[in-house]
Amino acid sequence: MATSTIGERATTIDVRRKRFSETYIGEWITTTDHKQLGLMYLITGFFFFVVGGMEALLIRTQLALPNGKVLDPDTYNQIFTMHGTTMIFLFVIPVLSGFGNYIVPLMIGARDMAYPRMNAFGFWLLLFGGIFMQSSFLFGQAPNGGWFMYAPLSELAAGHAFQATPHMNADFWLLGTTLLGISSITGSLNFVVTVFKLRAPGMSINRMPLFTWMILVMSFLLLFALPSLTVASVLLLLDRHMGAHFYQYGSGGDPLLWQHLFWSFGHPEVYILILPAFGIVSEILPVFSRKPIFGYTFIAWSGVAIGFLSFTVWAHHMFAVGLPSIAQAFFATSTTLIAIPTAVKIFNWLATIWGGKIRFNAPMLFALGFIAMFLIGGLNGAALAVVPFDYQITDSYFVVAHIHYVLFGGTALAVFAGIYYWFPKFTGKLMDDRLAKWHFWVTFIGLNLTFFPMHLMGILGMPRRVYTYPANLGWNDLNAMASVGAFIIGVGVILFMINIIKSLKAGQAAGDDPWDAYTLEWDTTSPPKKYNFLEIPVVRSRRPFYDKKYPDIADWKNVIKH
């Protein structure tokens, strides 16, 4: 009797249809595996990068010539708002979370994130939040208040104004960022718990790879900064739909409340967007220089210092709003302070490649390009902190140059570096290095041609966020140059996409460790199995995989405390 029951069960299993979660598509949709979710974050982020990039090309097409007629002013205002919003909320944050999701558990020797289901929840919220925001174009009512959505322009009606934001435009933005905020909160909580609780034996906090450090700092920044944005958005929604007056001075509110709330999120946000990029670069430079990172402790703790200081500098976005001089002096000082740890990082990176044995594969090229370009973003950022000079160049194209040297010359180059670096781990295949170098040089030329002239436009008095400009103010050549550059960047992106497709189809087999790297994600198969590691590795230094491969000269044998 008993045996026959077992036999019957076996047959039932043989013939039953596959569950949805076992089909190819179903597996992706229902997955809670950090690697699959990481890839989905990366693909989603890249999709929105293309969307935001096309918005950028529309902007540059409109501005290529004076008195441009490609877009009408309302459409232009929607496009530039969505360009900024898309790139920041839907490209950079998802892509960095994607790297974090895929790499961090591997780097620290864990089998998954701490909360796999919450991880999946965060991803789907991001995807649908992003689609929700972009769907506003279908109604012709995309957000049009600029990516910082200043009140009272974003109110339904503002005092004696005839034209605030009477339609849904701002609602899409406010609800969308709130959704994305929830997604980021779940992701950050997950990172914090994963990093604190799931590290492999021996991996003390001061042995964690720097990328993990930076993801940890980023997660804390998100946790503490996002509530401010959510509060600001909810208050504005109350103003818009429930008759509240938080931002309307006529009824005792204050438009500056929005700016304070927004930037107390917005400035940490800027570091949220750059710290993981620092982390990626800090992983790549040592591997391709055949040296350990120089000044590990200083790089890690300068990241933490930046994290704390980033909460004290928000009003440097508001020097022109008429704050008291003493407040402006305070924020000028805190901004000066935050430049110091950033400089320390750059010097440590230089010292890392100094005296090394440098291999110029694509990841290294992009990482070096990152240093070269981020430096410019740091220097013009320091110029913006010089308050009296800031009165002249804030809200001009100089600021546009600054943000793009930081976020494109900085973060985007680091993202590409990361993709070229970890693609072999994701897929088991190498990317085409030659095509990747073309991608680098085209991008490098394109980005300088686009963004460098913007400094000069700002100095020549061109304000940002204008849908057109007259021909007689001396801005024509610079704008034409920037527009040509933007399309060159576009060519670079196409080269990148060709490379991805080509390498997926017919890339060379990469093996588990193509770069002779140092960290644990390379100490497993490419791509890793569901369980990541057959055996959880034991860590004895900051370069566990290096120790394993070169036991004679292992780091842990040389007791160096830096």
Partner: protein, 382 residues
Amino acid sequence: MRMPVFRRKKHWLAALTGVLLSSILLAACGENSPSILNVAGPVAESESSLFWLILYLALAIFILVEGVLIYSIFKYRERPGTPNPYQNHGNMLLELVWTVIPTVVLFVILFFTIRGLLQVAPEAEPAASASQPKIEVTAVGHQWYWEFYYPKYNVTTADTLEVPVGTTVHVKLFSNNVIHSFWVPSLTGKTDVVPGHDNTKWFVAQKTGLFTGICAEYCGTQHANMRFNVNVVDNSSFMTWISGQQQAAAAPTDALAQKGEALFKNQCASCHGIVGVNVTQFYNTAQECTDLPGGKANGTPQCLIGPNLTHFGSRSLIAGGVLDNNTKDNNCDPNNPNLMQSCNLAKWLKDPQAVKPGNDMAIGALSNAEIQQLIAYLEGLK
């Protein structure tokens, strides 16, 4: 690994630096641009002098860091037979050095920052004296044009701010709608015009001439077309201008302009005021039209939404700075056969939404003859 393409980096950097330096020179002498380096007064002078300090320091750091980077790239590239490098984990002394040096540099900059801040702050505004007189102006940001009110003389104008040379101009900034920002690159950096905040700023113009002003805070659909001129004139011309502006509009004498006036009363008077025609005096928008209790609503005589046109013919810009008021060379002479093509005001009156899409000017379709009458009337309002 050989990388011939890498060799070219040097050339690119040389080319880039060339572009950088030559364009800064171009910028400095760009005649037509509202460049922040074409300074015409002490406030802009303080602000822009810091530019050169920052530029030199930044260039020095740029050359140093990029130099080390490029040197390392060439010097330490992997060559056949390169031994594995020394595994150097760090150096405490070096860390201290490169923490302290940027700190010192940054604090030097901070010193100049705060000094400059105090030079241009509202508290630093010079007191009125015989050698340095002072006038007061209220700049009102509308969507999308600037209105200027001179409280002492009770005069309102738009699009062109008239100021005497060598005089401290105390500017009160007022908006009852969204946030704007007042910026005249040659004279002074930006201060935002925030509803509910009585921001003020000051500047002194030391050269006569016309300087471009710009709204620098995104304020809606036509943010791009919210420019104004600052016309700096000598003292006696200013006083002449003021006394002219204080007058009510002169009644038109020729028949064409009289028809124009009738048309104005019929078509334009619900949004635009002309003293002596549909309003009795100039009003102080910043006092009359606040959102606070007691503030008058849009459309009352105190708060008409369009610019006051009493002395329209004397202005250098129209339509919120989109168009020059090109009255020279008989362009806007009503008898000019090419009036519709040559006169900017004609283009504006024919189709304001084509010139400045989304603006609030809602005017019924006018025939060419009517436009001719309006031009005769408005351009006659000197």
